[in-house]
Amino acid sequence: MNDAVIKGAGYVLAHVPNLTYELGSTQVMERKKNPDSEYLKKLKRHLRNYEEALAYAPFQAYIGNITPDELSEIPRPWYEGEKIQPVREGRYGEIVPEDEFYAWMLLVDTFDLVWLEDAYLAELRPRLEKHPLIAPPDLKKLGNGKSRAEIEERVEAGGAQPLYLGDRLVGCVRRAHELDENLSAHVIAENMATKASAVLALRHLLAKSGTDPQTVDYIIEASEEAAGDMNQRGGGNLAKAIGEWAGCLAATGSDTRAFCAGPVHALVHAAALVKAGFYKNVVVVAGGAVAKLGMNGKDHVAKGMPLLEDVLGAFAILVAENDGQNPVLCSDSLGQHNIGSGSSPQAVMQALVAHPLERLGLKLSDVDKYSVEMQIPEMTEPAGAGDVPTANYKMIAALAVMRKEIERSQIPEFVVKHGMPGFAPTQGHIPSGVPFIGHARDLILTGKLQRTMIIGKGSLFLARMTNLFDGVSFLIEKNPGRSDVSGVGKDALKKLVADALRQVAANLAPAGE
């Protein structure tokens, strides 16, 4: 088999409390329904500052500074007190502060839609100059900014979306059309934030994996955003828009959409393209979802907690041709929820977990770790949605009971052994299976993990086009190494050895005469 490998991964969070307050859909709806809302008044007091976000242990797991197993050792609630070193840079990426993130939005804007104030940009510049992923041409692209008066005018009379840092207006995102709601300032701000966070994740992936951007052949973008205009609302190809700002000049690309399951579908596509020989290096990338910021904010505020959903999540994963070293994405291990599979949780888990393992002659306990919907439990529990990853692990354990692999009393033990705590923000596609891939790659390369199953699930009913559920899964395993060298390769090796022996023999002959 010549399966594709996972050659690298980048993970980024952007801490954006002001975007959360201004543009998160829960807040936007509340403002529309009830402009004097008590919730909105209280909310500002529940927003975390950057240092608090850095000290939030699950975020440190997301960017790779601690493993999920290490996170499980840290007592909850994780949001109370500083239980971990607050570090910006991670093994896989970084947690970028909001003031710098606005600069990233400006950097990736090609239509003069993002404006930042001149004085603010000047303040920011020394920090941007030190950022390892911001090059001199980037600084040139940022320009000198606009005057405060110009920005105020756009916000007050031109339908622009203001960009705040606390009470300070530091910029705006302009609308791209007077009437088309798909190009309104709000939608452009959302898409620009998605694009900016994705670009940052892609730059981290390329830098940290030592990949020349020019060697990327194809990019698949897998967020849940729709980029287009009134005649093609989801026209798309954010993939190329992102690759353009990461130096991937020799790549083309396209977008894959499947709600939260999008990234795992995209990884399957990437692996197939590589295995079929169409491309050598395919990147799957996705930026964050502005609308989902503060999605459960009302419950967090009502329970006196900090508003935890204050970050955009982004990731980028490099799927490449088999190098004999990196972990393989096993093409014979695909699990999929078919149109005819049925939508009950049991039918879904059978299709995604039990069926592929059965086909391979494996037991459920043969998978060291399952990466499911990895939402941080503290974000979902206050809203009554429970601990989502644990619920998934219990379902997998229950399947093991039904298949008589374990006793019912062993369910808790199975959950601990084959599961992990959720460590990704509730950004839909971001927590869905993919957050563990960076960790899994490292753990497999260091021999601490043999096999993991990546599971993506999606709720298709949200678009009101179908009541079907969706999901897809695959195994990532230790690379068996060069044992899979093809017959041609073996012959070539034999010839090399034979040639070498002949040379040795030829050299020996004169000495013997």
Binding site: S344, Q346, A347, M349, G384, G386, M395, A397, M402
Partner: protein, 107 residues
């Protein structure tokens, strides 16, 4: 409960009445099961949807209650629901729905 679903249940409840209609819940969490059961019996307690102040009094059960479970083909139940029985707090779910049913259902 979702406002669209409330509208649909209100329409069906008013059309068929409590003698011809049974609500079967599949909620995985006791609190949301209780909320749903209350909504279709006493009315929407959050006063947000079409069932606010509309006490339909419908008979309401959770799928895992024996009255319903034993009416389902055992093979289908095994294939569709048995796994979740091991995962969920079945007693709490049943208790939550039963309490609302006994208090507010007309039957």
């Amino acid at each position: 409960m979702d406002l669209e679903n409330q509208a649909r249940i209100k329409e069906l409840g008013e059309k068929h009445g409590e003698k011809e209609l049974v609500v079967i819940l599949g909620s995985s969490d006791p609190d949301s099961a209780e909320l749903a059961a209350e909504t279709v019996t006493a009315g929407d307690p959050t006063y947000a949807g079409p069932l606010a102040g509309v006490p339909l009094g419908l008979p309401v059960y959770h799928i895992m209650e024996e009255e319903i479970k034993f009416q389902v083909d055992p093979q289908v139940y095994e294939e569709q629901v048995a796994m979740m029985e091991m995962v969920l707090d079945v007693e709490a779910l049943i208790e939550a729905v039963k309490r609302m049913r006994e208090e507010h259902s007309k039957l």
